[in-house]
Amino acid sequence: MSAQEPILQMTKIHKRFPGVKALCDVDLRLYPGEVHALMGENGAGKSTLIKVLTGVYSIDEGKVEMEGISISINSPLESQAAGISTVYQEVNLCPNLTVAENIFIGREPRRFGRILWKEMNRRAAEILSERLNVQIDVTEPLRMYSVAVQQLVAIARALDISAKVLILDEPTSSLDQNEVQQLFRIMRKLKQDGLAILFVTHFLDQMYEISDRVTILRNGEFVGEYMAKDLSRLDLVLKMIGKELSLLEDLPSLAEDYKDSFGEVMVKAENLSRKGAIEPFDLSIRKGEVVGLAGLLGSGRTEAARLFFGADKPDSGKLIFPGGSEGVHTPREAIKRRIAFCSENRKTEGIIGDLTVRENIILALQAKQGVFRTLSRKQQDEVAVEYIRMLNINPPNPDHLIKNLSGGNQQKVLLARWLLTAPQLFILDEPTRGIDIGAKAEIQKLVLSLSRQGMSFLFISSELEEVLRVSDRIVVLRDHCKVKEISDKDMNQQNIMQAIAGG
């Protein structure tokens, strides 16, 4: 291995933002034919490092060498020209253009300036089917497809741009197991072709499954570069978070203790359905209960949850509340019934990017109170500071713009927004997606302690372990149908996997 020279070498990289040292003395070496994992907690500097590499940010100090030649990357275009292609965590393609257009945008096959549409569509379909094993109609607009497929299209685009270095920024966070395996097959193939792949992930399993080498960052600093096979899981985690992991160890028992003491039914769904989203299902949630929704991506988990919040309109069935009252037609009505909903789409349905942390926190409560019962600035500051402290939001400044926070901290702000409305039922859709282990454990603990105080939860996660850890009862969905409810002693990975797989 040591005989081989790195294709890309970054040395002593520094990057400062006003008031923040985003990167300090960071090294990164990517070797051809290797998958290199980049790991670290939220705010560790992973995203910043990638943005430096892709020319979104320029570096303050340090050296970037490509094949031994020093280069400077000042724009995404220069980065691409140097042979670096990137697939970002949040898919950033054009939803209203076709799949083929998205793959070839800016590089359309032409003759005499005229775009060869047939040629383009044919080549797009070819790339998708041959390299990714995806058979879709490439002439449909991208928005017609699930996030998972959109992600694959983004990867197809990056693959098609001639690349020596492929950066995958949390590519698996919105893929289900099969799709992850499919992606890994592609990654192995590309590895054999001599491509250097930088793989950013939060999943330890995935890291060990696919990576040869791993670089760990913590608080913008370089912790070290290791061979994946020589690094134990415990060491990896300890290096990432720099503290003991007792947090995660004591979690499973918490849910167990608490079986008998659920109160009355908070909400009951009867025959609820929405065409193309979820087949009719019944589900009741009791006071203080955590109901987990498990199933593959696209099995109807999110779709079912959205009906509880009035975010989508059901085609049949109804929600029944204590006292016999019925129905929730809009998020506003849901909030009045003390239901809260943390969407899986943090950026588009969660944060208000240009507003401050304080304004983001008070938003739902203020909306509930109406225009004229305004929270005074003093009250706003008080609750903001209180929740920032309670949820450990970083940086602890209520006047920071939320868009400048890391994903995990944005998620905490959104949790604060909803907790402030004192919900009785809290729907959490992928609350820990794309956030680090530390924050994940904090959120799981929060769910457990709030449920013990009587708050009910509908908890959705792609991570089975997580669903198992926090739920009192697990509802399994398959192909838009509710297939099974699992509780008590039957709650284990095998049972759930069987239910998900069917048969």
Binding site: Y57, D354, A364, A367, F372, L401, R417
Partner: protein
């Protein structure tokens, strides 16, 4: 230091100061204010008086822009409002009866509210893009105004109506008080209630706002109604000032000046944060510029070109990308990351 020039009012105020300073040297009369018959006269007073309609329209426009919208129909609403008021008055036997004046003002204001609601409904419930939705009334509105005036210029001889746009109160033009009142109401509504937060929230991320329980459609509707109201009052001031209504030319191109004032004032067309005081200063800059150009005797055929250059300069100095071009020339290191949030510090 360093913080001052990041304040959102820094550039608008500097430009206004620069314009005034320029006048100090080139037209010394500019700052002279004289008293005749209990009225104050002078260029500064004129700027406030003639600028009043533009300031009003720009205030309404600011809130619309903050919701990521735009209202192209304000110029037409100005014309319609003035036309309907003058028509009502001209039909009266005695044009100086207070009841008649009040009725005509109420009809004009009511009609403006209706037109604003029309825009608001097209945008919120109809889901039509704001630029298209308001374009409809921009074009049709001119027609409506001409229909009202019968294609003629309606003149009125009502001293009481003329007071609105050219009378004075406590030695100052009455229109200044109208503007001040609207500004204060707008500031109170947006900053002392949660309306401002909701407007910014909806402008920044409509679907997230909806999920947080904000009635996004209600917010959007209300800003267009308010914008229509502002344009309607501006139309009254304008027609009252000249005691006539011209369906063709009243409020012509007002929408563009108003949008310009909003942008100069620091509110982004991308929606979100808005600055009412910034807008007022922006409108004053435009009005001062117009007055200055006349005062220093620029030939009328090139006044628009001169104006265009000044506006271009104002917009460029507020552009981060523009400064970044210089910064990268002058410094070896620059911080594109700092672009984010530069307006909102302090």
């Amino acid at each position: 230091m360093g913080k001052i020039y990041k304040h959102h009012l820094f550039w608008p105020l500097s430009v206004l100061a620069a314009l005034l300073l320029f006048n100090l040297f080139y037209s010394p009369d500019f700052f002279s204010i004289t008293m005749h018959d209990g009225h104050l006269y002078g260029s500064l007073i004129d700027i406030l008086n003639f600028g009043a309609p533009l300031i009003l329209v720009a205030i309404g426009m600011t809130l619309v822009v903050a919701t990521k919208g735009i209202d192209l129909s304000v110029g037409s609403i100005v014309a319609i409002s003035g036309a309907i008021a003058c028509l009502t008055i001209s039909k009266g036997a005695d044009q100086n009866v207070m009841g008649l004046i009040l009725t005509s003002v109420l009809i004009a204001v009511g009609l403006s509210l209706f037109l604003g609601a029309w825009n608001g409904l097209l945008v919120s419930v109809g889901g039509i893009q704001p630029i298209i939705a308001t374009l409809i009334l921009m074009v049709a509105g001119r027609g409506i105004a001409q229909l009202v005036t019968g294609g003629q210029i309606i003149t009125v001889t009502s001293a009481k109506y003329a007071y609105l746009g050219s009378g004075s109160l406590a030695t100052l033009p009455f229109s200044i008080f109208v503007v001040a009142a609207v500004l204060v109401i707008a500031l109170l509504l947006t900053r002392k209630t949660a309306l401002g937060l909701f407007i910014e929230s909806v402008g920044c991320n409509p679907s997230a706002s909806l999920m947080s329980g904000i009635r996004a459609n209600g917010v959007i509707l209300s800003v267009y109604v308010f914008c229509g109201l502002c344009a309607g009052i501006a139309g009254l001031l304008l027609s009252s000032n000249v005691s006539s209504a011209d369906g063709n030319n009243a409020g012509l191109w007002y929408e563009l000046d108003a949008i310009l004032a909003v942008v100069i004032g620091g509110t982004s067309l991308n929606g979100g944060r808005f600055y009412l005081t910034g807008t007022v200063i922006g409108a004053l800059i435009i009005q001062t510029l117009t007055t200055t150009i006349y005062m220093i005797g620029v030939p009328p055929e090139i006044t628009l070109v001169v104006k265009a250059f000044v506006v271009l300069a104002v917009c460029l100095i507020q552009s981060d990308s523009f400064w970044a071009v210089f910064a990268s020339r002058w410094k070896t290191r620059h911080y594109p990351g700092e672009k984010e949030g530069i307006h909102h510090v302090s």
